[in-house]
C-alpha cells in the first residue's frame, strides 16, 4: 500500500515533534511523523532538559539558544503547560583563577545581548544558600531555566495531531529512496510512504537515516548518565549547571560524557562520580536517597553545533540533528516551518548547513 504525503518527518523526539507542530500551524500540508518506537524512547526521554543559554559559546550559538529560550513562554500559550520555568542558571566554579575566564565569557555574551553576571561566593550563597561554601564564584543568567521534556514532547504531538498531522509509532523506517523527484520511504510495519519532502530528525540514529540517502552525517554519540533522587522538599530554585529540581521534588543530577556508541547502560563508576559532583556542589545532598539512574545518548555533531537545513545535493531532503535539542526545539521548529513553507528563514541558517563539514575538509575555516 502506497500512501502519499507532502512532508514526512522521520523521528518523533523533541526535534521532529516540534518541527511537525510548527509546520502544521498553517495547516497547508499533509504531514506524517514516523518513529521506530514511541516518542521519548530516544534521547528526548532521557535528558536533563535545561533550557540553557548563558554558557553557550561562541556567542552566535549562545544567541540562537537565547532566541529559542525566549520563544518558550509563547509556545506554552499555544500548546499548553510544559512546566517551563525560567529559574535562572548558575554555573559554579571552584578556583578563584577562573574568575578571569568568567568575566571574559560575560563580555563575549554581552556582545549578542546575553546578560551574564559573574558572582562571588557571597552572591552565589545569597542566591542559593544550599550551595557549598567551597565554591569560589559562578556565572549567572536569568534567561536559563528548564522544562518537563515528557510534557513538552507530548504536547507538541497533541497540538500537531489537532492540526491533522498523522503519526505512525513503533514503525521503523528501513529504507529511503529518491525516485523521480519523490521520496519513497519504506517502513517495517506500514508499507511505503511517498513524500515530496523529507526531514531526518532521528537523533542519535540520524547517521543511519543519512546512509539510506547516501550521505554521511558527521555526528558522534556521547552517553550521559543521570541520577534521580527521591522527591525532596524544595531545596534549590535555580537550574544549577549539573542539576535541577523538578516540580515533584526529585533532583536530577548529571553531566557525564562517554563515547561508547549506542549503549544506554549505567555504570557504578559514573554513578559514584556523579554523586560526588552533586555532594561537592550541594553538601546537603549527601543525605538524599538515590532512587534510580538512567542514561541517554547525546547526538553531537562533530563541531558541536546543530546541523539544520536542506541537504544541498538532495533537493527537498532536510536535516535537523543537534545536541541541546530541548533548548533549541522552539526555534528549530519555527525556522524549519519557515524554510519548508516559505523557502527562506528569518535567521540565516548558513552556519548550520551540512556543507560546512565538507568545507572543513577543504581546509577552509568554519565558524
Amino acid at each position: 500500500m502506497d500512501k502519499y504525503v507532502d512532508i514526512a518527518i522521520i523521528g518523533s523526539g523533541v526535534v521532529g515533534s516540534s518541527i511537525a507542530y510548527h509546520l502544521s500551524e498553517s495547516r497547508q500540508k499533509e504531514i506524517i511523523v514516523i518513529d521506530k518506537g514511541f516518542p521519548l524512547s530516544g534521547t528526548s526521554g532521557s535528558t536533563q532538559a535545561w533550557v540553557w543559554v548563558h554558557n553557550k559559546s561562541p556567542s552566535w550559538y549562545g544567541e540562537l539558544s537565547m532566541y529559542s529560550a525566549e520563544l518558550y513562554p509563547f509556545l506554552e500559550k499555544k500548546i499548553g503547560d510544559v512546566e517551563y520555568k525560567r529559574t535562572g542558571g548558575i554555573a559554579p566554579f571552584f578556583d578563584e583563577e577562573d574568575r578571569e575566564k568568567a568575566l571574559k565569557l560575560a563580555e563575549k555574551q554581552a556582545e549578542v545581548g546575553i546578560k551574564v553576571e559573574v558572582l562571588n561566593r557571597n552572591q552565589v550563597l545569597e542566591k542559593e544558600p544550599v550551595l557549598s561554601s567551597k565554591i569560589a564564584g559562578a556565572t549567572y543568567s536569568s534567561i536559563d531555566g528548564n522544562v518537563n521534556p515528557f510534557r513538552l514532547v507530548e504536547l507538541y504531538i497533541k497540538a500537531a495531531k489537532k492540526n491533522d498531522v498523522k503519526f505512525s509509532f513503533y514503525n521503523p523506517v528501513i529504507d529511503i529512496k529518491k525516485e523521480s523527484g519523490f521520496f519513497r520511504i519504506t517502513t517495517k510495519n506500514e508499507g511505503t510512504y511517498t513524500a515530496e519532502k523529507i526531514i531526518l530528525a532521528g537523533g542519535p540514529w540520524t547517521k543511519e537515516l543519512g546512509s539510506f540517502l547516501g550521505i554521511d552525517i558527521p555526528v558522534k554519540q556521547v552517553r550521559g548518565q543521570i541520577l534521580v533522587t527521591e522527591p525532596l522538599a524544595p531545596l534549590f530554585r535555580h537550574t544549577i549547571a549539573g542539576m535541577r529540581q523538578t516540580d515533584n521534588g526529585e533532583v536530577l543530577i548529571g553531566y557525564s560524557k562517554e563515547e561508547v556508541g549506542y549503549d544506554r547502560r549505567t555504570t557504578m563508576e559514573v554513578i559514584q562520580d556523579t554523586a560526588k559532583m552533586a555532594v561537592d556542589y550541594i553538601p546537603a545532598l549527601a543525605n538524599a536517597n538515590l532512587v534510580r539512574s538512567f542514561s541517554g545518548v547525546r547526538v553531537i555533531p562533530e563541531d558541536g553545533f546543530p546541523i539544520v537545513g536542506e541537504i544541498s545535493n538532495i533537493k527537498n531532503a532536510y536535516l535537523a540533528v543537534m545536541h541541546s535539542g530541548v533548548t533549541l526545539s522552539p526555534l528549530v521548529g519555527t525556522l524549519m516551518a519557515e524554510l519548508l513553507l516559505e523557502g527562506e528563514t528569518s535567521i540565516d541558517l548558513g552556519r548550520l548547513s551540512l556543507d560546512r563539514f565538507e568545507k572543513k575538509s577543504n581546509g577552509a575555516v568554519v565558524q
Binding site: T266, T267, M268, E269, I271, Q272
Partner: protein
Amino acid sequence: MEFELVIIGGGPAGLMAALTAAEKGVKTAIVEESFALGGQLRQQAQVLENLPKEFGKQSGIALAKFFSNKVSSIGVTALLGHTMIGTYRNGTIGVSNGKDTFPIYAKKILVTTGAAEQAALFPGWTLPGVMTIGAAQILLNRERVLPGKEAVVLGCNSISYDIAKQLRACGVNVQGIIEKKSIDEIDKELIEKFESENIEVFFHSNIEKAAGKQHVEKVWIDNDVLKKEREIDLVCISNGLYPVTEPLELLDCEFTYIENLGGRIPKYGSSFTTSNSSVYVAGNAAGITCIEGILVTASIAVTGILEDLAILNNIEAKKQKEILWTELLKAETGRYSKVHDARISLVNDFLPKEI
C-alpha cells in the same frame, strides 16, 4: 575485596551453595542485604516435609539457623547488611553496606536472590490490612504480632495452606480461601489438605473489592453462584511468586519468558551457567520451585563452578551432575513436574551456546 566465589543472596540456595563450595576450599563470600542469613526460611515456622535426607525434618526457621551456624564455622565470609546495588563497567559487582559503596571482585558469581510475591489488583488492595503472605508471616512468626482476627486468603496453593494453618493456630478466624481457578485445575492433594483442616475454599472466585475507612473492613467475593460480602480485618494475598533477577539483568545475562518457571527468567545451561559465563543462578531465582528443588539447583550450580575453577575434573563433575539432576527430577514431581519440564526445555535450548 576479592573472592573466588561471591554469592548474592543468603537464602537456602545461597547457603547450600556456600557450604558446598567452602567444603572444597573455595574462597567464598555471601552478600546478603538483611542482617541475618536464611532468606525466606526465616519466617517459615512450619515443618518442611521433603527436605533431602541429611537435613531430616525441621522448620524453616530451624533450617536457617542450622545453615548459618555451619556457614560461619566453615570460613565463609558472610557480608550481612550488604546489598548488591549495581555493576561497574567491566562487570564487577558494586555493593553497598549503608556506609560505603565498593566493588567486590570474584572469579565466579552465583545469584540466589530468591523470589518476590506478586501483589493482586482489586479496588482497595492498598488498604492497611491487605498484605502479602510474606508480610503476614513476618508479623506472625518473627515479630509475634497478630495481623488480624478475621481473615480471608487469596490464592489456593501450598504457601497459602501453610499460612492459613498458622493463622488458625494463633486464633485468627480464617473465613476462607478465594481461588480464581476451578476445582479441577487445582492439585487434589492440596484440596484434601484444606478439607482436612476444615478450611473452606471458594473456587472460581475473586475479590471484587475491599473497603474500609482507615483499615480494611469488608471484602466482596465475586463468585458465579454466590456473591458474598464478608466482614474481615485481614486479607492475605498469595498470588504466586516471581524470580528476583535484577542482579542478573545488570550482569548482562540473557532472559527468556517461561510461565511455568515464574515468568521472566535468565537463560541457563545444565550447570546453571547463564549467558554470562562467569555468572550462575540457583534457587527460586532460577525458577520458582519447592525447597528440595531450591537446594539441589544450588548443588548443581556449585558443581559447575567447581568444574570451572578446575577443582573438579570433567569426569567427576559430569558424574556428580548426573546424580544431582536425577535428584532434581525426584524433587520436582507431582505439582512441580511442570516446573521440571520447563527447566529441561530451557536447559536444552541453552546447549548449543555452552560449547
